[in-house]
Symmetry: C2
Subunit: 339 residues, 2 copies
C-alpha cells in the first residue's frame, strides 16, 4: 500500500530516474518538474522503502568509525558492544564499523585516530572527544568534508557535531543526591571523590550532587579530592580526606575510583558510611553486593553505543537529523537487589 518511486513517476509523467534525482536533490532536473514531483511525493506521503534502499546500498561501501580510548576500559567495551549490535542490524546495507581506539588520553593520538577514519572513507564518526581546541578544529574539518560526526559520552562545544549521546551528568549527580535524601535525610557530611576537575562531566555530576545535598537539613559537602581515574591515587586521596575530616559520613564517587576509595574507608574501619558511586563495572557490582556501596547510578554504556550508530545511520542514509541535540541516557539506580 505504501507509495513507491514508480507510482510517483507514472503520476508525474516522468521516469523513475528523474523522480530519484528530484527526491534526492541530485540536480539535473527542470525546476518546474522537480516542484511537481516533490508535490506529488508530499501529497501521497512517500517514504522510501528501507529494503529497496538497503539492496541498492550494498554496492557502496558504507562504514562508520568510532574513536575512543577503548583498550582496557570496561565502560567502552560495553559501549562498543552496543555499537556493534546496531551495526549488525544494518548489515543489509553493507554497513561496517571501523574502530580507532587507544589506551591513553592523548590529543595527538586522537587526532591521528580521526584522520585514519577519514582516510578509511567512513561516512560517519562517533567520537568521545578530548575537550581541546585542536580536537574542536579537527571535528569541524571532518564535518566540512561531509562526514557526519556525533559525540558520545563526552561533549565538545563550538563544533558542527550533530548531537551528543551520553550521560546527563548533572542529573546523574542529582540522582545520587536523591538516594542520599532517602537514605540519610539529614546531617549529611559528604566527601566527593571526582576523577579530574578538568573533566566537564565529572564537574557537572559534582554540581548536581552538591545542589541536592544543599537541600538537606544540616548537610554539606565538606571536601573534594581527585582520583585521576586511578585506583591507587583514589586510595591515597580518599584516605587523606577521611583522616582530615572525621565528620564525613558519606562518600560520593563522581567517576572511577570507588574501588580504591572504598578500600581506604575499610582500612580506616569506618562502618557507618553511606557510599554512592557511578557506573556498574564488575568491581563496583562486587562492592554493592558486599554492602560497601549502597547504590550506584549507571549511564547505560551499551545503549549509548547502540543509539550512536542508529543516529549516525539516520543522518547519513535517511538524511534525518537527530531529534534533539542532546540524547541523554536514563540514569539507572542500581542497588544490591536489582543489580
Amino acid at each position: 500500500m505504501p507509495v513507491t518511486v514508480k507510482q510517483i513517476a507514472e503520476l508525474a509523467g516522468v521516469s523513475r530516474g528523474t523522480v530519484d534525482r528530484a527526491l534526492n536533490g541530485r540536480g539535473n532536473v527542470r525546476p518546474e518538474v522537480e516542484k511537481r514531483i516533490l508535490k506529488i511525493a508530499e501529497e501521497m506521503g512517500y517514504t522510501p522503502n528501507r529494503a529497496g534502499k538497503a539492496l541498492a546500498y550494498q554496492r557502496k561501501n558504507l562504514s562508520f568509525g568510532i574513536a575512543a580510548n577503548i583498550e582496557g576500559n570496561e565502560f567502552f567495551a560495553d559501549l562498543l558492544r552496543g555499537a556493534k549490535v546496531a551495526t549488525d542490524e544494518y548489515s543489509d546495507f553493507g554497513l561496517t564499523l571501523k574502530i580507532a581506539g587507544g589506551r591513553r588520553y592523548d590529543a595527538a593520538q586522537q587526532l591521528r585516530q580521526l584522520s585514519a577514519l577519514q582516510a578509511a572513507g567512513v561516512s560517519g564518526i562517533a567520537v568521545c572527544p578530548l575537550n581541546l581546541p585542536e580536537i574542536e578544529e579537527k571535528i569541524n574539518s571532518l564535518v566540512a568534508a561531509g562526514i557526519k560526526v556525533i559525540t558520545v559520552n563526552s561533549d565538545i562545544e563550538n563544533t558542527g557535531r550533530l548531537c551528543y549521546v551520553g550521560c546527563n551528568y548533572y542529573q546523574s549527580g542529582v540522582t545520587a543526591g536523591g538516594m542520599l535524601r532517602l537514605m540519610r535525610p539529614q546531617e549529611v557530611k559528604a566527601g566527593i571523590v571526582t576523577g579530574s576537575i578538568r573533566m566537564l562531566g565529572h564537574n557537572h555530576r559534582m554540581k548536581g550532587f552538591s545542589d541536592m545535598v544543599k537541600t538537606l537539613p544540616d548537610s554539606a559537602v565538606v571536601d573534594v579530592c581527585e582520583s585521576l581515574d586511578e585506583q591507587e591515587i583514589a586510595y591515597e586521596e580518599t584516605l587523606k580526606m577521611l583522616k582530615s575530616h572525621p565528620e564525613i559520613n558519606t562518600l560520593y564517587f563522581a567517576a572511577a575510583g570507588a574501588v580504591g576509595g572504598v578500600r581506604a574507608a575499610v582500612d580506616l574501619g569506618l562502618s557507618d558510611l553511606t557510599v554512592i558511586s557511578c557506573d556498574d563495572t564488575r568491581e563496583i557490582r562486587k562492592m554493592v553486593r558486599l554492602g560497601l556501596i549502597q547504590a550506584t547510578v549507571c549511564q547505560q554504556p551499551y545503549q549509548q553505543g547502540y543509539r550512536a550508530v542508529q543516529i549516525l545511520f539516520d543522518a547519513v542514509v535517511n538524511n534525518i537529523p537527530p531529534a534533539q541535540e542532546f540524547c541523554y541516557m536514563d540514569n539507572i539506580i542500581r542497588i544490591r537487589e536489582n543489580l
Copy 2:
C-alpha cells in the same frame, strides 16, 4: 562480502531455486543434492540478507496480533507504543499489527479476540493471557495451527507459547524491599496493598517483598489487603488496614491502587510513612514528586511491547526461536530525582 544464494548455487552447480528449496526445507530436492547445498551454506557461513528477504516478503501479507485489555489502561498504552515502533522498523517487510483489545478481564472476550486474530490471518500473536484452562487450550490450538504465540506481562503454563516477555515479578518485589532496606533498615511494619490474590504476578511481588522484609531486624509484614485494581476499593481497604494496624510504618503497593491507598494515608494524617509502589503512571509520578511515594519500581512497558514484536519477528520470519524462555525486563527504580 557476505555469502549469497547465487554463490552457493554456483558452487553447488545447481540453480538458485534449488538452493532456496534446500535451505528453507520446501521439499522437492534430491536428498544428496540437499545435503551438499546445506553443507556448502554451513561452511561458507551463509546468512540470508535481510533486505532481499524484505523485498520478497512484501508480496505476502505479514501481520502480527496483540491481544490485551488495552482500553483506558496507561500501562498497555505504553506497551502498544513499543509494539508499534518495532512494527514500523519491519515495515519494509510489509508487517502490520492488528490490535484486539477490550476493557474488562473476561475469558469469553479474550477467546473471541484470539479467534478474530486467527481469522485475520496473523502469523504471530502476543497475548496478555488470563490464567484459565480455556485460554490455555485456545493458545495450544493457535500454536497447532502454526501461529507463533508469546505471552506478555502475564504468563500461562502448559502451553506451546514460545516465551514470556515481561516483568520479573519476584525480583520487582525484592527490589522494592531493597529500597526499604536502605531507607528504613529496621523495625519495618509493612502493610501490603495488592491487586488481587488471584493474580500470580502480584503474589510473586508480595513474596519477593516479604522475603526481603524478613531479612531486616525487628521487621514484619503485618497485613495484606486487595484493591482489585480500583482506586476507590484501594482507598477503603487501605483505610481499614491502617486503622486496625496503627503500627504500620510502611506501605507497599504490589499493583495499581497507590492513588487511592495514599489518599487514605493522607486522610489519616500519617506522616512518617514509607511508601513504595510499582510502575510509573502519571498519577504515580505526581505522587512521587509530592513526596507521598518515596520510590516506584517500574517494569518498562514500552520495552515489553518492543521486544515482543522483535521476538515474534525473529521466530516467524527468520525461524530463530527466542534465546530464553523468560525475557525479563530490568526492574527500574525511580525516585523523585530520576523520574
